[in-house]
């Protein structure tokens, strides 16, 4: 989407690679992350 131009604010931040973006919506990987995130949140809740 963005076109990086020198010295503009969008020139410096890291941007995800195609593979990273693919994993963000890959159903198998995201199902696994769904489980991990739920466990992570449950650990947080158990700390209260």
């Amino acid at each position: 989407m963005s076109v990086r131009k020198p010295f503009e604010q969008s020139y410096y931040p890291p941007v995800p690679t195609k593979l990273t973006k693919l994993f963000r919506t890959n159903l198998v990987w995201q199902f696994f992350r769904f489980l991990v995130l739920n466990i992570r949140m449950l650990r947080m809740i158990r700390k209260h």
């Binding site: 963005s2 931040p13 963000r24 947080m44």
Partner: protein
């Protein structure tokens, strides 16, 4: 018989009411006073604001839920608190004014043994000239605001479909705003919607915020372990803005919104103007403006409430510089130091200070986020307050024993970045503790084992699931207690 009076039926008030009712024997009364007939799952308002959800999907009528739960409900707004009664009686009471159409404007005194103030925020649009849906900008803070905003968004999308370029400004509408997370979610949901409708190339999207840097969110940002580095949330947030082609303006105090134009001052004290076709700018929050009176009807509001209208509780409110802030400043039981039978939960309690470092521009204008009190901590503190009050009413304890300091509490936050079951994403964040503790965690302020963030479709699934889970719980449906706060 004892009476627990709860002001407000939002996330905190509803959580407190249901838990208190569950813990208290039936000879005690739980009474809720709230001006709206409907309960609103506010986090999903951002989806109403893009048209992904309808107002009916984020609300339900409160009266039937309270009727089945043996909770007395007055559709009214609290006006004043009288902790020592008045000249006629020493019983503590609250004056309410009905908003129920059949009793509109009528006032009544409701006595209480224990009081929980869970009135949330006043949306203080008046703090900025021209801000707000009645004036020149839009909001997603209530479901009606969000619904109107979705219509305005549909309008700019229609223009883009005709080939017109449009500029959308989204963010915070004052130097003291909180709730950057909500504006952030709306920003990315709008961007996603524009892509879905194939008009993204016609839109310039600009974020404006009072944060010092992106990724601050009013909590000073957070450090995360990622790719062999400990990195600040600023880097991840800038990455997301860059990836989605969104420009950003930070360190901004919006001072005036005109039709199609916003004027702001930055931390250097310079004034700038941006033109736009659509502006969704969140307002700053203050307390709802409850008054307090003593037995002689003298105004004692300043003894119960901070100048910003939020209720003073057991925090350390002594003014001190950022360098001297400690986690122990934050309240633990949310009990009023002056009146031991009064408590405040959720946004209604006065935070002792900000979390992000305060900054002021050369013209003396403070530009920094005030502390967020999101759904999870609001619910947790409301539950603990309800349990403490139930213990005291039932004679199990003489004083509140359970604590819920934001300095010892973690939070999980799912920020939607596009709503779709196959292509949507959300940023899933956890942090512990909410209030950074630089003594315990010198470099990062938080425990890196419990502080995390990632973006992906799984976050959207969780956000969507939580939408239904929290509505289910708030309706007091069977086994509601298994849904955590």
């Amino acid at each position: 018989m004892a009476r627990l009076l709860i002001l407000g039926a939002g996330i905190a008030g509803q959580t407190a009411a249901l838990h208190a009712r569950n813990k208290l024997s039936s000879n005690h009364e739980v009474v809720v006073v709230s001006p709206n007939s409907k309960w609103n799952w506010i986090p999903s308002n951002i989806w109403v604001g893009t048209g992904y959800m309808k107002p009916e999907q984020v609300t339900f009528s409160l009266a039937p839920v309270y009727a089945k739960s043996n909770i007395i409900f007055h559709q009214a707004k609290a006006v004043s608190v009288h902790p020592a009664g008045d000249s006629k009686s020493s019983l503590s009471f609250v004056t309410i004014e009905y908003t129920l159409p059949e009793k509109l404007g009528q006032t009544e005194k409701i006595t209480y043994d224990y009081l929980i103030n869970a009135t949330g925020p006043k949306l203080n649009f008046d703090a900025t000239v021209g801000l707000g849906p009645d004036k020149n900008s839009l909001s997603v803070c209530t479901f009606t605001h969000a619904h109107d905003t979705s219509k305005a968004l549909a309008g700019v999308i229609a223009k883009m479909k005709k080939g017109e370029r449009q500029t959308l400004l989204i963010g915070t509408g004052h130097g003291n705003c909180t709730c950057q997370g909500a504006a952030f979610e709306y920003l990315f949901n709008v961007e996603f919607e524009l892509r879905r409708q194939n008009v993204r190339d016609k839109a310039k999207i600009i974020w404006i915020s009072n944060e010092f840097e992106l990724g601050d969110f009013g909590i000073g940002g957070m450090f995360l372990k990622r790719g062999g580095y400990v990195t600040h949330s600023r880097i991840f947030t800038e990455s997301l803005y860059t990836e989605r082609g969104i420009e950003w303006i930070t360190q901004a105090h919006v001072k005036e919104v005109l039709p199609g134009k916003t004027i702001y001052e930055n931390l250097d004290g310079e004034e700038e103007t941006i033109t736009h076709d659509f502006a969704m700018l969140l307002p700053p929050f203050s307390g709802v403006g409850l008054k307090a009176y003593n037995k002689n009807s003298e105004d004692i509001t300043s003894q119960l409430f901070a100048p910003n209208g939020f209720m003073l509780v057991d925090g350390d409110y002594a003014k001190k510089p950022y360098e001297e802030w400690i986690p122990g400043d934050w309240p633990k039981t949310y009990q009023s130091p002056k009146y031991k039978n009064i408590f405040a939960a959720g946004i209604a309690f006065a935070p002792p200070h900000a979390i992000s470092k305060p900054m002021t521009n050369p013209n003396g204008i403070p530009i920094f986020p005030t502390p967020p009190r999101t759904g999870m901590p609001s619910g947790v503190m409301a539950r603990q307050i309800a349990f403490n009050i139930a213990d005291m009413i039932e004679g199990r304890e003489a004083e509140p024993k359970r604590k819920a300091s934001m300095a010892n509490m973690g939070a999980a936050c799912i920020a939607s970045a596009g709503a779709n079951f196959l292509k949507g994403t959300a940023v899933s964040m956890t942090m512990y503790p909410i209030i950074p503790d630089f003594k315990k965690y010198p470099d990062t302020g938080r425990d890196l084992n419990y502080t995390s963030g990632e973006i992906g479709l799984a976050g959207h699934w969780i956000k969507h699931f939580l939408h239904y889970a929290f509505l289910y719980k708030a309706k007091a449906n069977p086994f509601w207690r298994i849904v955590p706060e």
